[in-house]
Amino acid sequence: MTWRTIGSVRESPFTQLDFRSKLTVMFVATFLAFFWQSPPLTAALALVILILCLVAGIRLSYLGNMLRIMLPFYVILLITHGFWNTNVGRTPIWIAPETWWLIGGRLQLTAEGLAYGFMIILRTLTLILVIPLAIFTTDLNELIVGLVRMRIPYKVAFAFSATLRFVPLLLEDIQTIIEAQRLRGLALERMNLLQRLRVYSRIAVPLILGAMTRSQQIGVVLASKAFSGSPDRTYLHESSLRTADYAVLVLCFGMLLAALVLGATTGLGRFGMPGS
């Protein structure tokens, strides 16, 4: 299992981009997601990132899975902001009937609260989509080279990539253990959520033991392959910015500048501004 198989990523123009360009996209999108509070703008941003994900080859099934996982949190966000966000809530669209005990006439769902909740959802959606957009579409070795070119110390870059490398291995171990358990008559498919959770909790011990053994083995293997953490090494992969990378960088920084200038001068992006 690899990051690419986790995200079901295929080869696309986005995988050809330098990691530094993707990192810039990630940084600008994250910044704008927090800078803008306007629901239409955050929706547009989330939509752009979603389109980029699809262009990059991240399949709809993966995105669907992510949404399914996040759905309960989004419902909670909408409810809490819709009913209780008194900072922005002005226009009630529903009020609890007077006859309801304790909350009657006091609990109200506001249009602004709902809009704010949607904005927070879109903001988290942008963050959830932009990280895999950069990570899934990058070979980990290219990622290291990219980070080193950005003057990040090689040891830090390697540790970051090693952590990313460990996640698919851990998921693979989970799969292997569950497969082994099914081969011993464990009928996972007939279990309810609670029973499944109990099974997953039993995986923890062998998983942690396996991870500890594996990390020790990786240490031995790295040492035996002359790895010292020193930046004084060569690279098979080159990290060079091409025309497409420059275009992405110009576009990103252009957007950032425009958003800052318009935000300061016209208040664009603020919650509750006309048109937002």
């Binding site: 358990q181 464990l186 007939r190 031995v220 060569t234 098979l236």
Partner: protein, 609 residues
């Protein structure tokens, strides 16, 4: 006995000249009074070892499991003691560098190492990156890295797979990749700790021949740890025999492997041709020498020809299909295509009958494991179907199939997840809803059958590897399945460890179970299996009784297999004596499977000159 080996003996020099090269006698590695104890081991795992390994030498290390072979290899590149800690006595120097005073990464610039388990030593995200990693660390320029990647991958037959993720490779392919990564470094010293245990036989030959070539032409010093006596005898200049952490003997292969008592004492299997000539000697013949390679055996046979007669073998009759029960597993035109487009199975049809003992052999990536995963419903067929007792397995859950078909995977550690031996065996029974006295009874029975009753409270991972495999078998047996499938059960085991596991499979077979074993170790199979299925590139190439299958040399070679050494030698004798089977030809003239059978064919010539 501890040999203080400071200089090579006379015959080493002779063999060096025979091979057309003069060995450089400057020691590259000096081991002086080396003793070592791991932080948590009860005693010393290496004891007072003295050994000099010379520049350009090809040294083999043999010894039973637990002899200290891997620890000795780790001491050569400083991982012992620098990584593990523990008590270290004596000195080891490599290329003039003390392995305690110099950091591991510096020592690694002089020495590449291939570990036994390929799963744990692949760290990159693609095949080419794996080969490049070490080269990048030792600052090889990018153009040269690209050249070396091409060369190393071609050498191990992995060209065309550069962009694949290592996890997508089969076990044998992973092992070849580990070797490629080490070869690409072209180091001064190459340490190979059972590097070919998962390779198909011709793959082994090719890789070792390449290493031999590098050793001869580039002067790379090679240290090879292996349980395969035949490959050690064929490729190395000297053999070091290690037992209980002690260096018992160091000598040329023909001396070590002719020393029957020494080998028996330390549970080492000699090459099959050596066993054959020793058997002849025990039967009163006087072979000129005890040869240890096929070539030497053929030469030693010539002067004996005038003194002996070769008689046809009285072949025991083979069990017919009717001798077995009904079809228990049936693959019908099964095809499988992996998500990356690899066609692993191409219309495989196979019937397995109740009570059969079947061996599936074939090159790395032939589709053997993929096929059995269909039997277990771990994989869904792209086309065709698999029937279990007439029922389509695609209609059954994995857990339902598992109650009738037990599976012991290549690496038993992947199938262990409980905290005690007893809990491991009880796990399956609890899933089946069995509790109380019946559970206790079945657990007891399984533990006793596998000889694990004394270890019931132990943590499974604290058992030796052979016993961990037995534990997984015990856990399967508790479910009382009718069919048991073993995927490469003898990998990484020494000869006697492997035999012990196969004895268990025979015991289960005799108890009425249907047994399917996947293996590369053809020499281990006689005496166990009745039927052999040969696979290659996703198809069944041959499905025949073992005596026929083992003598189909050309067909076996087409899937990177080779008949066991003794079968090849029998075919050589048949050719020299112009013997031929009326129906099957010369290759089948002496359909022997073991050296004892071949020796039984030899009698004294009545009209001897």
């Amino acid at each position: 006995m501890i040999i203080n080996e400071q200089t090579p003996r006379g015959p080493v020099e002779a063999s060096a000249f025979e091979n057309g090269r003069l060995m450089n006698h400057d020691p590259t590695i000096c081991i002086e009074n080396l003793s070592y104890q791991y932080p948590r081991s009860p005693g010393l795992v290496l004891r007072d070892i003295n050994l000099s390994i010379h520049k350009g030498e090809f040294l083999g290390i043999i010894g039973p499991t637990g002899a200290g072979k891997t620890t000795l290899c780790l001491a050569l590149n400083g991982i012992v003691p620098q990584f593990y800690g523990g008590r270290f006595f004596g000195h080891v120097t490599v290329a003039g560098l003390d392995t305690v005073d110099n950091p591991i990464h510096l020592l690694a610039q002089h020495m590449a190492m291939v570990f036994q388990d390929p799963e744990t030593q692949l760290i990159a995200n693609s095949v080419e990156d794996e080969v490049a990693f070490g080269l990048e660390n030792v600052r090889v320029p990018r153009d040269e890295i690209q050249k070396r990647i091409r060369w190393a991958l071609e050498t191990v037959r992995l060209d065309g797979m550069e962009k694949k993720h290592p996890s997508e490779l089969s076990g044998g392919e992973k092992q070849r990749l580990s070797i490629a990564a080490a070869l690409a470094l072209q180091p001064e010293v190459l340490v190979l700790d059972e590097p070919t245990s998962q390779l198909d036989p011709l793959g082994k030959q090719q890789v070792l021949a390449t290493i031999r070539e590098l050793n001869a032409h580039l002067g790379i010093t090679v240290i090879l740890v292996s349980h395969a006596s035949e490959e050690i005898a064929e490729f190395v200049d000297r053999v070091a025999l290690l037992a209980n952490g002690e260096l018992v003997d160091v000598d040329i292969p023909s001396r070590i492997f002719a020393h029957a008592d020494l080998l028996r004492q330390h549970a080492i299997r000699p090459p099959q041709v050596a066993s054959f000539y020793m058997e002849l000697r025990d039967r009163g013949f006087e072979p000129p020498s005890i040869p240890v390679t096929l070539g030497e055996a053929a030469r030693a046979y010539e002067p004996m020809r005038t003194l002996i007669e070769v008689n046809p073998l009285a072949v025991p009759s083979e069990a017919s299909e009717e001798a077995f029960g009904s079809v228990v597993l049936s693959a019908q035109g099964v095809e499988h295509v992996y998500p990356d487009g690899t066609k692993a199975l191409r219309g495989v049809s196979l019937d397995v009958r109740e009570g059969e003992y079947l061996v599936v052999v074939g090159q790395n990536g032939a589709g053997k494991t993929t096929l059995v995963k269909h039997f277990l419903h771990l994989l869904e067929a792209t086309a065709g179907r698999v029937l279990l007792n007439g029922q389509d397995v695609s209609n059954l859950e994995v857990s339902e199939v598992a109650q009738r078909v037990g599976f012991v995977a290549q690496n038993p550690d992947n199938q262990i997840f409980n905290t005690t031996v007893e809990a491991e065996v009880a796990f399956a029974l609890q899933n089946l809803g069995i509790a109380g006295p019946e559970l206790a009874e079945r657990v007891e029975e399984s533990l006793l059958t596998m000889g694990l009753a004394d270890y019931r409270t132990w943590h499974p991972l604290s058992l030796p590897k052979g016993d961990r495999a037995r534990l997984v078998i015990a856990a399967m047996l508790a479910m009382q399945p009718d069919v048991l499938i073993f995927d490469e059960p003898t990998t990484g085991q020494d000869y006697y460890g492997a035999k012990r596991i196969l004895d268990v499979t025979r015991q289960l077979h005799q108890a009425g179970k249907t047994v399917i074993v996947i293996t590369h170790h053809l020499y281990l199979v006689p005496g166990y299996a009745e039927r052999v299925v040969v696979m290659g590139k996703g198809v069944i190439l041959l499905d025949a009784p073992i005596r026929k299958a083992f003598h189909e040399a050309a067909l076996l070679r087409s899937t990177y297999l080779a008949p066991p050494q003794i079968v090849q030698f029998a075919q050589h004798i048949a050719s020299r004596e112009n013997l031929s089977s009326p129906s099957l030809g010369q290759d089948h003239a002496l359909p022997i499977l073991t050296y004892e059978e071949l020796a039984a064919c030899i009698t004294e010539r009545k009209d001897k000159a």
